[in-house]
Structure formats: structure tokens, C-alpha cells
């Protein structure tokens, strides 16, 4: 089974590369064949990827969330899977390039550095941890997708204001649609992050003896959650539209990334077991 896992580990980034290329070519050249077949590429990629993740779970007897590079692989899957669902629901097909790119990056990093022989701390085999990490990862996928659509919104907004009617103008859906996609992804991401935080707060004190509420990662996550929560609340309360909401979402994303990088590298936290 290890050899199968090794082969799949090598194949999957190439599948993402092929899917990304299909989306990219269609974005630039409006290929009549690719407009439908690229979705099939994405489906096959996701199918093989989930098979790989399940196989890994069976082989190592724990969900693939026990080291950084396993998490990268789950993140790659969840970003593309979320996009796949969005594409099916909205039939907006030409934004995939910008989202699958993230999956390609995550999976490439995962495939390059993932190892099979390492010791998994007993605490990481807990099922509640699985739920905590998976909901957090899906939450991060949501806010990543939200940020991508937000960025596309801003680019299209600027193009429209500056009378630039190029590729983005021709390929993107309307500003209103991009805003909706960005906000809906953000909402899903926010709900999942909330679930992750709740599970974490309930379970972490019992699982980690050195748990403390002043933990930098916990504080960082709570700040992010408050920022997003305030943004969402003000959107509903003040009926905010467009650029302001998008800028808020992008600010939240940058803050999230900073928080993740800082707490994973610099800060001393009980979360740093990877």
C-alpha cells in the first residue's frame, strides 16, 4: 500500500497541474472543448485525491492531519472541492484558474516534503481533533476562496472604472456575482471556523495539559474571528455593498495569513506540534 501511496503522491500534483492548465487555457483562449472537459479533469483529480487521503487514513490509522504536509494536502483538496461545488451550483466556469492555483501550490508542497515514517503523538489520533482540524481547514478554504473572489472583484472594479475591457472584463461574471461568491464563501468559512473554535475550546483543555487561554494561536484565531464577525455584522446592519465589503474580506484574509505564519513559526504555542 505504501508504494500505491507514493505513486499517488507523485501523480496528484500533476493532476492538479493538468486541471489548472485546462482552466488557464480556457481562460485565455475560450476553448470550446475545454469549457466542459476541464470540469471532468477537476472531478477526476478530486476523486483520486480523496482516494489517496482515505488510503492514507487506513494505512496510518489516523486522519491525514497529523503533520504540516498532510494538512497541506487536505487543504489542497478542500479548496478545489469547495470550488467544484461552487462551480456546479453557479455554473460560473471561468474563475477556477485563480482558485485551483492554490490547490496546486499546497499539493506540490505536500508531495515534495511529506514523509511516511514519523511518530504521531497519541493526542493527534483523537476523533475530536479530526473534527476540529477538518472544520478549521474547510473554514480556511472558505476564506481563501472568498479572498480570491474578492481580489477578482477589485480587479474587475478597477478595470471597469478605468475603461479597460480586456480579458477580465470578457471572462469574469458580474461584479455583483463576484461579491456574492466572495461573501457566501466567507460566510461558510466563518461558520466552519466558529465550529473549529468551539470544538477547540471544549476539547483542547482536556487534551493538552499545557493549554492556556493566552495562547498566541488561540488569541490570533479569536481576533480573526472577531474581525470577520464584525465585518459580516456590519454588512447586514449597514447594508454595505461592494468594494468596502471586499476590502474587509481581503483585510481578514491577510490577517489570517499573518496570524498563521507568525503563530506557526515565531510564537511559543502548544499548537506547534507539527
Amino acid at each position: 500500500m505504501i508504494s500505491t501511496l507514493t505513486s499517488l503522491n507523485l501523480i496528484i500534483p500533476f493532476l492538479y497541474l493538468i486541471t489548472f492548465s485546462a482552466y488557464l487555457i480556457d481562460f485565455f483562449y475560450e476553448n470550446r472543448i475545454l469549457i466542459n472537459s476541464k470540469r471532468i479533469f477537476l472531478f477526476i483529480t478530486l476523486f483520486i485525491h480523496i482516494f489517496y487521503l482515505l488510503l492514507r487514513t487506513i494505512e496510518f490509522d489516523h486522519p491525514p492531519i497529523t503533520n504540516k504536509f498532510e494538512i497541506f494536502s487536505v487543504l489542497a483538496f478542500s479548496v478545489s472541492f469547495s470550488y467544484f461545488i461552487l462551480e456546479l451550483l453557479t455554473d460560473i466556469r471561468r474563475t477556477g484558474t485563480f482558485i485551483i492555483f492554490f490547490s496546486l501550490l499546497f499539493q506540490a508542497a505536500s508531495s515534495l516534503f511529506i514523509v511516511n515514517d514519523y511518530v504521531v503523538p497519541e493526542v493527534l489520533r483523537n476523533r475530536l481533533l479530526g473534527l476540529h482540524v477538518i472544520s478549521a481547514l474547510l473554514g480556511y478554504s472558505g476564506i481563501t476562496i472568498s479572498a480570491v473572489y474578492g481580489l477578482l472583484f477589485l480587479l474587475l472594479y478597477k478595470n471597469l472604472k478605468a475603461n479597460r475591457f480586456g480579458l477580465l472584463f470578457n471572462r469574469m461574471p458580474s461584479l455583483e456575482t463576484l461579491e456574492k461568491l466572495s461573501f457566501n464563501s466567507l460566510m461558510i468559512g466563518f461558520v466552519l471556523l466558529t465550529i473549529a473554535i468551539i470544538i477547540g475550546i471544549i476539547w483542547l483543555p482536556t487534551a493538552f495539559p499545557d493549554f492556556r487561554y493566552s495562547d498566541p494561536k488561540l488569541i490570533g484565531t479569536i481576533i480573526i474571528w472577531i474581525v470577520y464577525g464584525a465585518g459580516i455584522a456590519s454588512k447586514f446592519a449597514a447594508n454595505l455593498y461592494g468594494r468596502k465589503v471586499i476590502l474587509f474580506s481581503l483585510f481578514g484574509f491577510v490577517l489570517t495569513m499573518l496570524s498563521l505564519i507568525l503563530t506557526s513559526t515565531l510564537a511559543n504555542t502548544f499548537h506547534s506540534f507539527y
Binding site: 475603461n163 472584463f169 461584479l175 455593498y241
Partner: protein, 434 residues
Amino acid sequence: MNLIGISINHKTAPIEIREALHLNRDEIIQLIGKLKEDTFSEGVVISTCNRTEIFVFPKYYSLNIDTAVNTLLNLKPVAGIKKEYFNKFFSCGAVKHLFTVSSGIDSLIVGDSQILGQVKEAFEISEDLNFTGTISKRIFDHSVKVGKRAIKETAIGEGAVTVSYAAVQVVEKIFANLEKKSALVIGAGETAELAAIHLHDKGVGKITITNRTQSKAESLAEKVNGAVIPFTHFKEYIHNFDIIISATSANETILGFEDIRNEMKKRKGNPLVIMDIAVPRDFDPEVKKLDNVFYHDMDSLKIIVDQNIQKRKSEIPKVEEIILEELVNFFSWYNTLEVVPTIKSIREFFDEIRNDELEKIKHKIKDEDFSKIEDMTRRMIGRLLHNPTVKLRELAESGNNIQDITTNTIILKELFGLDKERNNGSDKDMNDEK
């Protein structure tokens, strides 16, 4: 095939000449009557604001192409008309020209799909007047197919190519659901009307018209199921609209920066799209600096129009490929028709020989014997010609092996000297046969 094509269009003649030669339905009917008199057996007359086209089959092979031009000019005499204003086509060239016209690549606005409907309508007029036949029907079926394939398989008809449609295209890039949006059209002239109709066609929820002359606004509002607000008060209602299309003939701006800034406060930042398609402009262009105000004037919309025209032009090679494919399809069918007159000719040729020989012995033998010889020779010729007739028919019906059909018919014609025998009006006979 002796199809003749005559064309006067935007590429060959100035607009005054095209206008002078434009034919309405009644004039087309009249012209077809004249063409019938002037030795044409079937054909079609297409006339739009940018072109007049005549496609006709002469009854006889030796015919001057100018006859069709003269018939047209006799019906519609035009001062200053020159020979070079007319493009003339024959046979395959005429079919190709018709296909090119139907595809829209020969139109003033490349990819114009209206021409396809006009071609269909022209053919229907000819059909009603019994001025069509099997071949012309087949040619026009293929030309309609070319037009449909061009629209379906290429991007020749995609993108806005008029400023008012480009304005609507930009609106669609800002709002997702136009049903929930309201639009104000300022002005009721031709441009404003076109824009209002485009908005209506795109399903904009509420359209309101305002114009200095109230009656014109009411008339346009009726066309688009819209409402009217008085021109003197319209500024008070600006904040209620998501889209404003302005196309007045005012000499100075009617809405300034401060007006829109104040209205945007009332709109709580909800986006406002302003399409200023008036010359001179109706809005202060500085309004584009306001957040969530999308201001576009003629110049910016012209960028979209020019881009789309360029894009359509780049699709022409794909359409030309479709034209070529349909030409091949049509002539594959047409070439199979060659065998029918060949079979008929060869039978006539054998019968003539038989009759000649029978005539020679008719008075030399008894009637009873003559009758037996007559039967015997008929059966003999029947049996001799059975195999080649069946084989040729089979080839023709299969529609394949065009080369074989042509080769076989040529060999037969050469061997029996059929072309010499049937030199006079062979094409006329062929048409009659078909």
C-alpha cells in the same frame, strides 16, 4: 451549373446608389415577374439597406449575365449608376457568394445575423411566386445552414457592435440580476430608444423615460412597458435608479459632479451605472471618481465595439471553412445529378440507332417479323443498358464516390459521343430533368 449572381453592396457602391436600388417586397415581386419574362427559370432576389442581390438560373445556356442587371435597372432606373458597382458571379462562384452573404461575413457589420432571416424571407417570396426549383431550394437550404452553423460554431455574432448594446453589455458586467434593477433613460431619440429596447430585452425590472418633449417619452415608454417622469423633476428621482442611460441633444451637461455625489449618499453607496451616450456629454465625466459610480461615455463604449468587431473579424477564417464544407456538401449532391441526363441520353442514343436500323428493314420484311424484331431489339437494348444504368444509379443514390460518378459519366459521354449529340440546350434539359 449555370447560376448567375448579381450583387450591389456596401463594398461596391456608395450609399445613395444602394438606397436607390433598395427593393421593398412589392418591388421584389415585380422584379421576379420581369425576370421570369426575361428568360430566367428560377431565382431569388435579396434586398436589404446595404445590399441588393439577384441569384437566377437562365432558361438557356447562352445568356449574357448583364440581362439580370438590365432587368433590375429597367425596373429601378438610377442616375449615375456604373457597371463597376455590380459584382457578378457565375456557377460555383455565385453559390459561394450566396453562402458568404448568409454567413454574415460580407455584411457591413461583420457577423450581422439579420441577413440570415432576410435570405430566408427572400426565398419564401420566390417560392410563393413559383420561381424556385429543386436546385435553387437545395442551394438556399445550404446557405441557411451556413448561416446557422456560423452562429453556432463560431463567435462571429458575439459581442456588442453598437454603442447602445455595448452600454447594456457593461451594465451586465456590474449587475447580476437585471430583473431587480431599475433604469432611467434620459432622452427619447433614436439612440435612447435603441438603448431602452436593449434594456427591455435584457429584462430590466423597471424602465423609466424622461424627455423634454413629454409625448416622445410617453411613446417610448409604451414600447418598453415603462413609466414616464417629467423632465423638469427627474433629478429628484436619480437615487431611485441603478442604471441611467442618457442620450439627449442638450448642448451642456445636465447633471454635474455634486448632483451625483448627493444622490450617491441617498443610495447608501449602492452602485450606479451611468451610460452617457450623448454628444456632447450629458454628465460631468468627473463623476467617475465617485466610489461605486460606473461612468461610461461614447469613447469608452466605442472601445468595446471596436474590440468586438476585431474579434468577429478574427472569426472569419472559421466561417470560411464552414462555407467551404457546405460548398463541398452541395456540389457532392449536385454532381450526382449529372448521371440522370447521362442515363437519359444514352437510352435515347441507343433508341435512335435501333429506330434507324428498324426503319431500314421495315418495308423489306413482313409486319409480323418486323414486330418480332422490334421486340427483340427493345429487349436487347434493355439488357445491354441494364447494368450500366443500375450501376450509375447506385453511385448517384449513394452520394459517395463523386470522382467515380464523374469519371464514369465522362467515359460514357466520350465513348458514345453524347455531348455532341445533345449539344443544344443540354443544361436546360438537365434542369428540366431535375
